[in-house]
């Protein structure tokens, strides 16, 4: 059996289109233009690429994009002042601080300064707790993207056995919460798990988010399972070239799985699409308008 390949790129394009449609209606019907502010401190080249493509996609969706590029030596006080201003700005519905921050800045302090209602990354401690208590929150983008892919594939996840490998704050833990929220039976496995292979083999849904290239071989995958590979690892091939691979050994897993996300082109494109969806959701909530369906948990 060969797995169905989950086309994250096409799905993300569909989400962005949907978001753009809602944005157009908000602007025409209510005169509201959702706005996303991205704060970048320093000149990390990878971060600059991310911020650039976030800004571009924000504008393409019809939203306002505000970029705040601050020098690497920005003090904590100055950065917090920028956050305070964005918190107060009614044109800004979403605030994203690009991580990692330079080492002299305390990222927890900075993230927790963001108004939770504008925290479109979903990393503010209140949003983490709201998600943990099943209340309305801002949901972290990558796990939200995974959830959307799973719902699209399966409809209901109720009663399915889901295994999340990796317990990171930005993917593993919120992913587990979201799967529980959709009534899956959830196991969170990690580096201390005794028999990872057998835990994985019990999964109808296997989400890999550890950041170790191709660590999950095909024979850990239950036949017919859905495999969501969140890992993005750059490796050097024997020929000396580099390429991107996931946490799952794609070739062997695709022989066994029912459906699988490729790397790249699977989960990756969903992240920015969900960022836009979160900004839209935040704008609707800020204006006491009904939030669009299917774009958040």
């Amino acid at each position: 059996m060969t797995a169905r390949v989950i086309d994250g790129k096409a799905f993300a394009a569909r989400i962005r289109e949907e978001v753009a449609g809602h944005v157009a209606r908000l602007r025409a019907g209510h005169g509201i233009q959702p706005g996303l502010a991205v704060v970048l401190v320093g000149e990390d080249p990878a971060s600059q690429v991310y911020v650039g493509s976030k800004g571009k996609q924000t504008v393409e969706a019809g939203m306002a994009s505000f970029e705040h590029k601050l020098p690497a030596e920005t003090t904590e006080k100055d950065l917090l002042a920028v956050i305070d201003r964005l918190n107060a700005d009614p044109k800004v519905h979403g605030i994203l601080v690009q991580l990692p921050l330079p080492s002299h800045l305390d990222s927890d302090l900075v993230i927790n300064r963001i108004d939770p209602a504008k925290d479109v990354d979903g990393f503010h401690i209140s949003n983490v707790g709201l998600l943990g208590t099943g209340q309305k929150s801002m949901v972290p983008c990558t796990p939200l993207g995974c959830l959307m892919l799973l719902r699209d594939l399966h409809g209901s996840l109720a009663g399915m056995n889901a295994v999340v490998v990796g317990r990171s704050n930005i993917v593993g833990k919120p992913m587990a919460q979201l799967l529980l929220g959709d009534s899956a039976t959830v196991t969170i496995a990690h580096s201390r798990t005794k028999d990872l292979a057998s835990v994985c083999r019990g999964a109808d849904i296997l989400v890999a988010a550890v950041g170790r290239p191709e660590m999950i071989p095909g024979d850990w995958v239950k036949p017919g399972a859905t495999v969501i590979d969140v890992g993005i690892n750059r490796i050097t091939t024997p020929e000396g070239k580099t390429r991107l691979v996931g946490d799952v050994d794609y070739a062997s897993a695709a022989e066994v799985a029912g459906a699988i996300t490729p790397v790249p082109g699977g989960v990756g494109p969903m992240t920015i699409a969900c960022l836009l969806a979160n900004t839209l959701t935040a704008a609707c909530r800020a204006n006491s308008l009904p939030e669009p369906e299917g774009l958040t948990a």
Partner: protein, 297 residues
């Protein structure tokens, strides 16, 4: 019976002795820990709990004040009352007694308490900290269940744990606390297809559902620890009432390595955790006060 009976009262007494020593040290420093219990409407419903809390507070060296408000008090008025308690430096912890009248959403009150005074550990920020593995003030029942497990001669790291019940204040926080300690956790609930498949694979089972007899001996791995958080009132064959947990005690005790009785297991430890939270909250407020006002040392 094969299992060792876990003595919740003894664990609670040991915790209470430590709490009392800390409370006395704080009091000697001018920071006598003080809890305020807020009940609304029918006082009788919560009377048993409140009396129990008062007794334990007194034993732990914590002051305990009861405030009862009429059932007609509005949410706005209660929010104002909580704002007053938040601002009052003589109050270190606030307890919201349940049940509340129908027009008062409990989550709104829990969110209105300042996180530093949230001794019940129900504020989204308190839950968020647990998810991020930074335990400050945790929900008392969940923390009590985990404290009990930690008192057993088991290595928690790598332990296979099954949590039955995914409530926001018990099941889910237990899952995240145990995961933070390095356990591999599976969360089961009413949509789980075969709970026994998961529970039988576990070295430790937590059950918090509220259904007597839900867990039977055949669902356990021989020698496993069973922490029973359920509290159910049942009628005996002879018409008498008694309190039982979610486990079928006799069959489970024959298979398990350790088991908590109901009553006398998790219950007493829960109140001990509340008092421990009161002392931790007082210490945290002292630290915050000093950072803000007493920098000239």
């Amino acid at each position: 019976m094969g299992a060792t009976l876990i003595d919740g009262k003894a664990i609670a007494a040991a915790m209470q002795a430590r709490t009392r020593a800390e409370a006395e040290a704080l009091a000697a420093d001018g920071w006598m820990p003080r809890l305020v219990s807020v009940s609304v409407g029918d006082v009788a419903a919560a009377e048993l709990y409140v009396r129990n809390q008062r007794r334990h507070a007194s034993a732990a060296g914590v002051e305990f004040e009861e405030r009862n408000y009429p059932g007609t008090t509005s949410l706005e008025q209660l929010s104002g009352i909580l704002a007053g308690l938040n601002a009052d430096p003589r109050v270190h912890g606030i307890i919201i007694q349940r049940p509340l009248p129908g027009h008062i959403p409990v989550k709104a009150l829990q969110t209105a308490i300042h996180p530093l005074k949230d001794v019940e550990g129900m504020h989204p920020a308190s839950i968020g900290k647990i998810v991020y593995n930074d335990l400050g003030l945790g929900p008392c029942t969940a923390v009590a269940a985990v404290e009990i497990l930690k008192s057993l001669p088991l290595t928690v790291e790598g332990l296979d744990v099954c949590v039955i019940g995914h409530s926001e204040i018990v099941g889910k926080p237990i899952a995240f606390l145990m995961m933070g300690l390095g356990a591999t956790v599976t969360v089961c609930h009413h949509m789980t297809r075969q709970v026994a498949v998961h529970s039988r694979a576990a070295d430790a089972v937590f059950v918090a559902v509220g259904r007597p007899g839900l867990v039977t001996g055949s669902m356990l791995k021989p020698g496993a620890a069973l922490i029973d958080i359920g509290i159910n009132r049942v009628t005996d064959a002879d018409g008498g009432m008694r309190t039982v947990g979610d486990a079928d005690f006799d069959s489970c005790a024959a298979v398990a390595g350790w088991i908590t009785p109901v009553p006398g297991g998790v219950g007493p430890v829960t109140v001990a955790v509340l008092m421990q939270n009161a002392v931790s909250a007082t210490a945290a407020q002292r630290a915050q006060y000093r950072a803000a006002f007493a920098a000239v040392d």
